[in-house]
Subunit: 318 residues, 2 copies
DNA sequence: TCTAATTACGTAACTGATTACGCAAATATA
DNA sequence: TATATTTGCGTAATCAGTTACGTAATTAGA
């Protein structure tokens, strides 16, 4: 299909579907060639039953990876053809024990030649290819099991979008943004406190002049996130990270992470040995971001904020 | 899926279907993540339309390899979403010209980032595999296009079955078989002639004693085919191949070919330079078998048989 | 120039899978 | 021991494709 050369790999789903269709179509003719009265879709069920033991519907469906209604339907069709027999279990009235009938067993013997020939045909096909389709599928199954295509794409998205993010130093023009972004999330989850107003209404006096700093994240040159490094008045800690806020419209672009990294770097340049922060456990994405940045929970401390119920710190390697 | 390790490669259809399903399932979530109101199944249609030109239903269906009703349905859904517009062609009233709407074009721009991220995610996946799935599919498409899975399996079948075929020299116990097998096909297609009875009623006197020979094909030790090398009384030809017959029950097992090869080898050992044969053009499989054995048509000659309307010869390399 | 064949495409029915749901039997729990 | 939960599995609806078929418009041919 020339079409797929143009689309690129995002059409891999469509392309797979077409190949699948072509193969199953031939499968039907192959059964006919061997004079075996069976539909290709019965194969997985037939195969597990040809081991000999009777099995329940649920059992079969788990083994072959189909839904149970699908197996149920297939069994009904196979019963009609006389290939299998059903029998209610005596001990457990829910169980429908299915096994191959005499006719089914005959076919199971007869079909072995067909298995051999198909396997050989595919083996021969495989020797003519540079990439082994069977193994490739296996590898994809394994990798997608570890991490789905969805999360893989999400990571690419994040990475790409973080290229459009610029982290810059605070400038008075961002005073309003600094307040708005913070007020937005604080009042959404909690309520604004006295200490919030002090910092947000006078960042220059309350943060910068005391030797702290503020970073602003621009996405396509629009300010969408802020974060501050605040000088503390505490024998244990010199600096606190706080007032981190990212616009809900710009979520999922790694902006929080980039701001955090920026603040940590600032603290390192200022010679800080560790950074402190306070948060609340209901802010799960925030907590997990702090973890990702390297922060760890510390024993509870006094806080000027009512909403603070968790404290964390990060040790800085100079 | 552990199941597929047991079945072997004949379940490649099922396995492909499952992988396809897993991927397209994720595809739907991916569109949602990019906030694009589109179904994965629309993608191929959307893609060809995003080139800009208006296209007909048939045109699109050919390009993407779907049936036209499928495209027709998809277009209707996309019209409902406002992604495409339809317009009857002025010159040819049958044509339904479809093109992206303004909204469709906006999405086409917006979706480009998604394309990039998906491609990167798949590229990254590919670097983690030893067998490139995309290329493997491409190779299978190519090989199946040259020769379908069905014919590949048929060849394996033939090859396997020909191992169960033994070609042996004539023995008086096969006199009846020799006559019956020949009478069967002759009277099915034509009618028995005087010359037939002479040869079939007295193979010893008419064929063997004159210096010819007869071969019998056994399939699982049951005689299912015969063929004779008959000494001719002709200045041009020394030997004729004739009286080849294979039971309809044993067709497709390469038996005719094996008998032919055997007769040719006999002729070679007898020092023959060429072999002659007569047949009728309505027996197409027979004619093509003769071709496969190396026989070529020669100018028409007189024949004792009414049914003969084609003559062939094979030059033997000693 | 009239009729036959071809082409475009829509509708209907089918296919092989799924999810949603409900019922009955068995098992766990208070 | 009575009630709640879990399990097995059947039915119904849905989904993304197909094939079959019909109809209208165009093109080819006698």
């Amino acid at each position: 299909m020339e079409f797929f050369n143009r689309t690129g790999k995002m059409a891999i789903g469509s392309r797979l579907r077409m190949l699948t269709e072509k193969i199953t179509e031939d499968a039907a003719s192959i059964y006919k060639m061997y004079d075996i009265d069976m539909q290709p879709k019965w194969f997985p069920v037939f195969y597990v039953l040809s081991a000999g033991e009777a099995k329940t519907i649920t059992n079969i469906s788990k083994e072959i990876g189909h839904s149970h209604p699908s197996v149920s339907k297939i069994i009904r069709e196979m019963v009609k053809q006389g290939l299998v027999t059903e029998q209610k279990d005596k001990k457990d009235g829910r169980l429908n024990m299915v096994s191959l009938s005499a006719k089914g067993n005959t076919i199971s013997e007869k079909i072995k030649d067909q298995y051999i020939d198909i396997n050989r045909a595919i083996e021969q096909l495989t020797t003519q290819t540079r990439n082994d389709l069977w193994k490739a599928i296996e590898e994809w199954e394994f990798l997608l099991d570890q991490q789905s295509l969805l999360t893989r794409v999400r990571e690419q998205k994040k990475e790409r979008e973080s290229l459009n993010v610029k982290i810059i130093a605070y400038d008075p023009q961002y005073k309003q943004v600094f307040k708005d972004l913070n007020e937005e999330w604080i009042s959404r989850w909690f309520k604004m406190e006295e200490a919030d107003y002090r910092a947000l209404d006078d960042p220059q006096g309350y943060i910068l002049d005391k030797g702290g700093c503020i970073l602003v994240a621009l996405y396509n040159d629009v300010p969408v996130g802020v974060c501050a490094l605040i000088k503390m008045n505490d024998p244990d800690y010199e600096y606190e990270m706080g007032k981190m806020a990212v616009s809900p419209l710009a979520q999922g672009k790694n902006i929080g992470f980039l701001l955090g990294k920026g603040i940590i770097e600032k603290a390192r340049l200022l010679g800080a040995k560790k950074i402190y922060l306070e948060s609340n456990t209901i802010l799960k994405p925030a907590i997990s971001l702090y973890h990702k940045l390297g922060f760890n929970k510390v024993a509870s401390r006094n806080s000027p904020y009512e909403r603070s119920n968790i404290q964390m710190e990060l040790l800085i390697k100079q």
